[in-house]
């Protein structure tokens, strides 16, 4: 699908030049660090004063942090969708974007774990989660499965990197020592022998299969944190697939955004083409349609019956105090993007970028819509409680810490994309018909 054949030397230099010099990088990283600095300060306040420093209360104890947590886990799932599901079905065009998807998975999964710590009033008691673990608790399953997913994602990121390390070692002779050390270490003695190729390919295949159930589990279990309680709005049997469908949509959106900026700032127009945007755009609309289907089920089934309790909650969403947020999310984050994306002209990079931003923002707020309004309707009878216990809006501490998490995840993606080629050189070369022999004998021109 790449129009003209490229030489190995061109591929290597195209993909390694951004690693060497890349204007704007420092400014971008400085910006991310500044955002994180503010979050760090906010967290120091929260550590000193406890969770009371946030807008969370006894009644609404899950707020922005937990909403962000689900959003992060959701976004991280894209790694599995692209590299495993599409990869295993033998789709070739994912080669240039698979690694980008995996970077997003690593960055967001790691910060998802951290957000849980931010939501703890006493993070110094973190170990108690394990010391006094109860296998009956979905929270414990969640801890297990998030950890597992992070590990698998990291390995799945590193594995296809191994053969590339040789190219890096050869082209990066002028780079700082520590970088070269990393490249050497991560090459695991790669020489390109058939035996080594066999091991790498088999391992990638094995993990690609394994990550499918694990990724489904991570988000299903995250949904169970809610669905395993009898609370109105959470007590739903379709929460697992509902979350997973939403996650794919959010992830596809995030992938498109990252693709857009990496392609632009790394000048990779020859590799990530309009064709790829069109394809991922189609993937986005497909996932959104599935998500829409789950949304219809999730709201029409209880909305038709309007059971006592449900009625309050649904009224607040449809026409009450949460209505503006709810309908903005449903319309701008789902329905409108679907309508636009069905139209081929909208699946070009720039329109896709805008639509994807809407989808991702919608996904973020959707998690909020799932988490908070339910808690605003306490199930136990309440009396004489302060009015502000029933209303929640995150305060600056929560916004700052959440921004730190987002900046942190983006920073991980940025650093990974800066340290390593954003595409697997060896696989691209392979698709260009360059033999393993030729790759092994690669020398810098």
């Amino acid at each position: 699908m790449l129009e003209t054949k490229k030489s190995l030397n061109k591929i290597v230099s195209d993909l390694t030049v951004p690693i060497k010099s890349h204007k704007g990088f420092i400014i971008w990283v400085a910006f991310l660090l500044a955002v994180m600095g503010l979050g760090f300060y906010a967290y120091s306040v929260q550590l000193r004063e406890g969770l009371g420093a946030t807008a969370l209360t006894d009644y609404i104890s899950w707020g922005l942090y937990i909403s962000s947590f689900i959003f992060f886990v959701a976004t991280a799932l894209i790694g599995m969708l692209v590299s495993a599901v599409l990869g295993l079905t033998g789709i070739k065009w994912i080669t240039p974007i698979a690694r980008i998807a995996e970077m997003i998975a690593v960055g967001f999964a790691m910060w998802a774990g951290l957000i849980i710590v931010f939501d703890m009033g006493r993070p110094d008691r973190l170990l108690n989660v394990f010391l006094y673990a109860r296998v009956q608790s979905p929270i414990f399953w969640d801890v297990t499965v998030v950890t597992t997913y992070i590990v698998i994602s990291i390995i799945l990121f590193l594995l296809p990197l191994i053969p590339d390390m040789v190219f890096l070692q050869k082209t990066m002779k002028d780079q700082p020592k520590w970088k070269q050390k990393i490249y050497k270490m991560l090459s695991f003695g790669w020489k390109g022998t058939p035996e080594q190729y066999k091991i790498i390919k088999r391992s990638i295949r094995l993990l690609s299969i394994l990550i499918i159930p694990v990724a489904l589990a991570i988000h299903t279990v995250t949904s169970w944190l809610f669905a395993m309680t009898p609370r109105i709005g959470w007590d739903s049997t379709i929460f697992g697939p509902y979350y997973v469908a939403g996650a794919f949509a959010a992830g596809a959106g995030a992938l498109l955004i990252v693709m857009f900026f990496i392609r632009k700032s790394y000048n990779l127009q020859d590799y990530i083409t309009d064709f790829h945007f069109d394809k991922i755009g189609k993937l986005l609309v497909l996932t959104l349609l599935v998500y829409l289907y789950f949304n219809i089920n999730e709201y029409i089934v209880p909305g038709y019956k309007m059971k006592r309790g449900d009625d309050h909650h649904l009224f607040a969403l449809f026409a009450g105090k949460n209505a503006i947020l709810f309908w903005s999310v449903q319309i701008f984050g789902m329905i409108l993007p679907i309508l636009l994306l069905l139209w081929g002209k909208m699946r070009k990079p720039v329109p896709l970028l805008i639509i994807s931003i809407a989808v991702v923002m919608g996904a973020f707020m959707k998690r909020y819509i799932i988490t908070v309004p339910t808690l605003e309707h306490p199930q136990l009878p309440t009396a004489n409680i302060p009015v502000d216990f029933m209303i929640y809006w995150p305060n600056w501490i929560e916004w700052s810490i959440t921004s730190m998490a987002i900046a942190g995840a983006v920073l991980i993606v940025t650093i990974l994309a800066k340290l390593f080629p954003v595409m697997p050189i060896w696989e691209i070369a392979h698709e260009e018909g360059i033999s393993e022999e030729e790759m092994n004998n690669f020398e810098v021109e």
């Binding site: 006094y132 673990a133 109860r134 296998v135 009956q136 399953w141 297990t144 597992t148 590990v151 698998i152 390995i155 594995l159 191994i162 695991f188 003695g189 790669w190 020489k191 022998t193 058939p194 035996e195 080594q196 091991i199 790498i200 088999r202 391992s203 094995l206 993990l207 394994l210 159930p213 694990v214």
Partner: protein, 285 residues
């Protein structure tokens, strides 16, 4: 302005309705009334027993707070004790505001006895209740085969001593019976059969004098084995969803361990494969 007036009127009406401004109106002849009996140790002690059950909850022990206000006032302060016996008797009988009238609840004798008891707080009073204290000894025997408890009182005048029997419960003593001793200072009581114990029927009983001012503060605690056994089923004891980690249902435990173990086995296998890469290089060269 309008509001301030309204609120003010409302507050005044409210205060009036709870009689804060009300005053004792004691007729002159009631003030002059005197007790039909002389004050004595027996009378004062009888009064104290009633006071402890009927008045202490509101007024506390006379002299404990030393405060006239807020109501209910301390009944051991000088300004109160300066009243005549007749005045106090009238107050107890008729009540006022938060103070309930006792004339239909307590006999005239009882009310006068209370007055006698309160009067012991006066400096001029010569009645000393502590002279009545005998400090008797108390022994308790458990007669297991008859499910009886026997109290033996000794060390003084042991006839007709009221002995109280109690069962220890979580939040205090449950009174069972008050029985008087015979002339030899002994009393035997049969344990009621509806008192619950633990799963083996164990529980604790407490025996003490009903009138500690007269007979002393001796108190004996004994274990008995023949209360009604109660088989309390603790829902936390069996394996259940709501149990602690160690009481997890087996199916969930095995599912968790099985799944986690299998997934990590594959991960570790892949890691070992990666470490094998170096070796694979050497083999070919």
């Amino acid at each position: 302005m309008k509001h301030t007036k309204k609120i003010f009127t409302a507050v005044v009406i409210m205060l009036l309705s709870i009689n804060v401004f009300a005053q004792w109106k004691i007729p002159a002849e009631a003030k002059k009334q005197t007790a039909p009996t002389e004050n004595s140790v027996d009378a004062a002690l009888a009064g104290k027993l009633i006071y402890d059950t009927k008045c202490k909850a509101c007024h506390q022990i006379p002299g404990a707070t030393g405060m006239k206000a807020p109501a209910p006032p301390d009944l051991g302060i000088e300004s109160f004790l300066n009243k005549t016996d007749g005045e106090i008797f009238y107050q107890i009988s008729e009540g006022m505001g938060g103070m309930p009238p006792f004339k239909s609840q307590l006999s005239e004798e009882d009310r006068w006895n209370i007055v006698h008891y309160l009067a012991t707080g006066r400096a001029s009073c010569t009645v000393d209740m502590s002279t009545a204290l005998q400090n008797l000894e108390l022994k308790v025997e458990i007669i297991d085969d008859k499910k009886q408890i026997k109290a033996i009182v000794s060390g003084g005048n042991v006839d007709c001593v009221k002995v109280g029997f109690f069962v220890k419960r979580y939040f205090g003593l449950l009174p069972i019976k008050v029985v008087e001793t015979d002339s030899s200072g002994m009393v035997t009581t049969t344990f009621p059969n509806d008192i619950s114990g633990d799963k083996d029927g164990n529980t604790e009983i407490v025996v003490k004098f009903d009138n500690p001012d007269r007979h002393g503060k001796a108190e004996v605690t004994k274990k008995i084995k023949w209360a009604t056994p109660v088989h309390y089923i603790n829902p936390l004891e069996k394996r259940a969803m709501w149990g602690v980690g160690a009481k997890a249902p087996l199916w969930i435990l095995f599912s968790y361990i099985g799944i986690t173990f299998s997934v990590w086995a594959v991960i570790i296998f892949v890691i070992l494969q990666i470490l094998k890469l170096k070796k694979a290089k050497n083999e070919v060269e």
